[in-house]
């Protein structure tokens, strides 16, 4: 993330970063070592991500808001919705999304969404990573979009359901309440903000993505990678990137079928987010839906990068993300699109062995 970019001077964006930093400090279950386990987003009422604090979950933020619009009545002031469901937009069950409405009639309208990787949601293993999973329920409990607060009143039943289904209920309660408070406060702040701030961000975003791929028109490159499977066969990723009529096409249709068992399947929202993360950072663009709209992602249904309900997806933000982003970085570098960027997120962690891996030295 380059802090010298112009939008870092935008007060609306800095509010998001402040909220992001606040949550990073106070959430108790946020223990996985880097800031990408969190995001704070402004999403408009049509579901467009206006701006996000990080680029790692852009498509997920869009998908979560769309699911909420389908599943829950129109949000009122004081309402707060929670979901962790990968088939409602979340990257995996550990990620909890909190969505609060921005007051109607304000410049932003829409929603504030906050997501964080929380401690535990039941299932077979503490922490919800299970290489032998054949379906999503073996990984943990699904919380489909549901109002946690209604007009400012906590829905006790929803909170108790979430707590009871976690091995770390008090941590979950603390974190969800903190996320809800942060989202609600930010919703008020954004609602009251100067409309020109949002207009400025939109303008910067549109500017970056006006004609970013002109230099690569007609060029194609294909990259191949492998996603390690702890149980069963490894999955192949075939990533063909080409610029076609000014659009960036990422064709993943040659990749493996979805795996069962296999906790490394990815939903299409996840795959789009992985790709958008790379593109946004290489172009130094505002982290917004413009990045998603600049991408034409093609992945076969029921494939490892566009899996179907109810396949497990617990490892998706790790192994598959790393493979996809690495291949896409390489492809864009070859096509001369954007610039390499430094990844500040920590890629280091102590050696781990995931229970159930077929290999003694699990590459994870």
């Amino acid at each position: 993330m380059r802090s010298d970019l112009p939008y870092f001077k935008n007060a609306l964006y800095t509010s998001l970063l402040d909220a992001h930093r606040h949550l990073y400090k106070v959430l108790q279950s946020h223990g996985l070592g880097d800031r990408t386990h969190l995001s704070v987003d402004v999403v408009n009422k049509e579901g467009r991500v206006e701006v996000s604090s990080v680029a790692t979950e852009l498509s997920n933020a869009r998908a979560v808001v769309a699911s909420i619009q389908n599943a829950v009545p129109p949000l009122e002031p004081g309402d707060v919705v929670v979901t962790n469901d990968p088939y409602s937009g979340s990257q995996h069950l550990q990620d909890h999304w909190i969505v609060a409405p921005v007051a109607k009639g304000t410049a932003a309208g829409g929603y504030i969404s906050v997501h964080a990787h929380l401690a535990d949601v039941g299932g077979r293993n503490l922490g919800n990573l299970y290489p032998g999973a054949r379906d999503i329920w073996q990984e943990g409990v699904r919380t489909t979009p549901v109002r946690l607060f209604r007009k400012g009143e906590l829905d006790r039943d929803v909170l108790e359901l979430i707590k009871l289904n976690s091995r770390m209920p008090l941590v979950m309660e603390n974190d969800l309440r903190e996320m809800a408070t942060t989202a609600s406060e930010l919703a008020s702040q954004v609602g009251a903000s100067d409309p020109s701030l949002l207009a400025d961000l939109r303008s910067q975003s549109k500017g970056v993505f006006a004609r970013p791929f002109d230099g690569a028109e007609g060029r194609t490159t294909t990259k191949r990678g492998t996603i390690h499977s702890c149980q069963g066969s490894d999955a192949t990723v075939v990533l063909e990137t080409r610029v076609e009529n000014g659009a960036l096409v990422v064709d993943l249709t040659g990749s493996s079928d979805q795996a069962e068992p296999g906790f490394f399947n990815s939903t299409i929202a996840n795959t789009q987010s992985f790709l958008a993360d790379v593109l946004a950072n290489r172009l130094s663009g505002v982290f917004s839906s413009d990045v998603l709209e600049a991408l034409d992602v093609r992945a076969a249904e029921a494939s490892v990068l566009n899996c179907s309900f109810p396949l497990p997806v617990g490892w998706s933000p790790y192994g598959p993300r790393k493979v996809v982003t690495s291949l896409f970085q390489s492809a864009l570098r070859e096509l001369g699109i954007g610039e390499d960027y430094q990844v500040f997120e920590s890629d280091w962690r102590p050696p781990v062995h995931i229970e159930g891996c077929r290999e003694t030295e699990c590459p994870f």
Partner: protein, 581 residues
């Protein structure tokens, strides 16, 4: 004040309403576990402002309906002061009023006054509720989260309006969404019909009148109970039952029961039972207490209504941290049967010294077989079923009656699904489903024979089988000198090079199409000495192949010979010689 006759009419009306609720549930449920096997119970509970009472019930499994007392209590603990007519509540959590997550308890509120309420309730076994293994029975579970979705007491309907987001949340945590939806609607229907009929009763007799009717039947049962107990000899009586294993490598788990009769008071103390287990057998208080009360009800005269009038008279002590009262988050899924029925058997053993002519098998010696997979006949749809062919038979002999049917009377609300239904709904082909030869627990009144099943996987996909076999070392006991039942076991792929004999547990064993599961479930124990059995009854058992001529001679001391027509008959003189030797 209303008359005693009117009070009895009200009490009988509540029983009738319970039965009507039961019919609604039975006729509208979806999964065969539910609508065919009847793994559900309906009842009506009263909260009078201070305590919760079971007033009436129908089609009830004791572990369900007595355990539901704690469910209603848990509901009142959370929501008292915030419950309205038309509210419907749901829970399944074993540590918050439930038994195991499979049993969903739904309760509707009908207010009698500011402080008192009536709850028509249904507890029913649901087919799937997420978790690691379809159906929830996970022999490898080491905590309760590995068994399935946990539901604390929550409000599902608010003043008659469905809370749709909560409904969706529950349905998101099952693999069988359409099935669970249908089954939940069935129990909602049962509760709603109960609520409607209770409201009509209130309209007819007034809220106070209905309350009086309820109090009357509770007091009647309590008085009858005290009279019976006061006839029993004072003293301390002990019983014990051992469970083979907990599926986690621990063996011989003990349930110890000390029953104390003092005047018209009865205490059942389960102290001395094994510590709670890492495996999925530890039994929460709702299950343990229900099963401790089961033998009490079994030895009482049949005409005493089994309501809280009785239950409140019995003090049950279940020490915390034991296999009969585990601390969360111990897994519990298998405990409704084992250790649950081990509690019942241990208490019944103690009753041998109190009412020997009324004792007999109450337990199941339960062996579990669940199966799941994809059914190629129905677009590879996921299926899940409990195989009761590996669970029956267990009825023991009692004074005056041989073990009959499949399960003891205490569990006879359960009905076996037909083979035809099983084969229609699940990709299986049954080759054998019958009593085993030569396998009865011997006694003056013998136990029901053991049961054998041979089932082959049909369709194009493998079937995954979870088996937990109990009773390989500790079969169902006999009573008053009767012999125990036979031991149980199962065989995967019998007669093939991959044959595997199971005497404890196996999780997610894969059986390919055409492969077979064989199970042998030991039957019930006998009652009384086999040498006191009528020789002609032994001869009939030989004709039925329940007893071989050799067993007749060895166990029953009955000599048989070929008669003039070539037909076997009792050799009375030789028999007399054998029995007097």
């Amino acid at each position: 004040m209303i008359s005693a006759i009117t009070k009895q009419v009200i009490a009988d009306s509540l029983e009738a309403i319970s039965r009507e609720m039961s019919r609604v549930v039975e006729r509208t449920a979806v999964h065969p576990l539910f609508q065919e096997v009847h793994d559900y119970s309906t009842g009506i509970f009263l909260f009078d402002g201070t305590e919760v009472s079971l007033v009436a019930r129908a089609t009830a499994l004791p572990a369900h309906i007595f355990g539901s007392l704690l469910a209603v209590q848990a509901l009142v603990d959370v929501f008292e002061g915030d419950m309205n007519d038309g509210d419907v509540f749901l829970l399944n959590d074993p540590y918050l009023g439930g038994s195991h997550q499979a049993d969903f308890t739904m309760m509707r509120v009908v207010r009698l006054s500011d402080s008192s309420m009536v709850f028509p309730s249904v507890r029913a076994h649901m087919s799937d509720f997420g978790g690691v293994v379809p159906g929830g029975y996970n022999p490898d579970a080491r905590d309760v989260w590995q068994e399935g979705y946990r539901i604390p007491p929550i409000r599902l309907y608010e003043k008659g309006e469905l809370r749709e987001e909560i409904w969706d949340l529950i349905l998101a945590n099952t693999r069988l969404g359409e099935t669970l939806k249908g089954d939940l609607l069935a129990i909602v229907g049962g509760c709603n019909v109960g609520g409607r009929e209770i409201t009509r009763l209130i309209d007819k007799y007034s809220a106070d009148g209905v309350h009086q009717g309820m109090s009357y039947i509770l007091e009647y049962a309590a008085a009858r109970f005290r009279t019976e107990v006061s006839r029993w000899p004072d003293g301390v009586y002990r019983g014990e039952r051992i469970l083979d294993h907990d599926s986690a490598g621990n063996r011989d788990l003990k349930v110890a029961a000390k029953v104390t009769v003092a005047g018209d008071r009865l205490t059942i103390d389960l102290s001395g039972s094994s510590p709670q287990s890492p495996g999925y057998v530890s039994s929460v208080p709702g299950t343990s207490i229900s099963n401790a009360l089961l033998p009490v009800l079994a030895v009482l005269p049949d005409d005493i209504p089994p309501n809280s009038g009785i239950l409140n008279q019995v003090e049950v002590i279940a020490p915390e941290g034991s296999v009969v009262n585990p601390l969360a988050p111990a897994p519990v899924m298998f405990s409704t049967t084992a250790i649950g029925y081990e509690v019942a058997d241990a208490v019944m053993k103690a009753f041998e010294g109190i009412t020997p002519e009324r004792v007999g098998e109450v337990g199941l010696g339960y062996c579990l077989c669940t199966t799941f997979g994809k059914d190629s006949r129905f677009d590879d749809e996921l299926y899940f079923t409990i195989e009761y062919g590996n669970a029956m038979c267990s009825a023991g002999g009692t004074s005056g009656t041989d073990g009959w049917g499949a399960w003891p009377a205490t569990v006879s609300a359960l009905i076996m699904a037909t083979i035809e239904t099983q084969e229609l709904q699940f990709p299986m082909f049954y080759e054998t489903y019958e009593y085993a030869d030569g396998s009865c627990g011997a006694g003056r009144w013998r136990g029901v024979p053991s049961f054998v099943m041979r089932r082959t996987v049909a369709g194009d996909h493998p079937a995954f089988v979870n088996l937990t076999q109990e009773g390989a070392r500790n079969p169902l006991p006999g009573y008053v000198g009767g012999a125990p039942g036979a031991t149980s076991y199962a065989v995967l792929r019998p007669g093939t090079p991959e044959e595997e004999v199971i005497t404890e547990s196996v999780a997610e064993a894969e059986l390919r199409p055409g492969e077979t599961l064989f199970t042998f479930k030991g039957g019930g124990g006998g009652w009384g000495s086999p040498q006191e059995r009528d020789p002609e009854a032994v001869l009939e058992d030989v004709f039925d192949s329940y007893v071989s001529p050799e067993e007749a001679k060895e166990l029953y001391k009955v000599a048989l010979r070929e008669g003039e027509t070539g037909r076997l008959e009792v050799d009375e003189r030789a028999t007399q010689g054998l029995r007097s030797a």
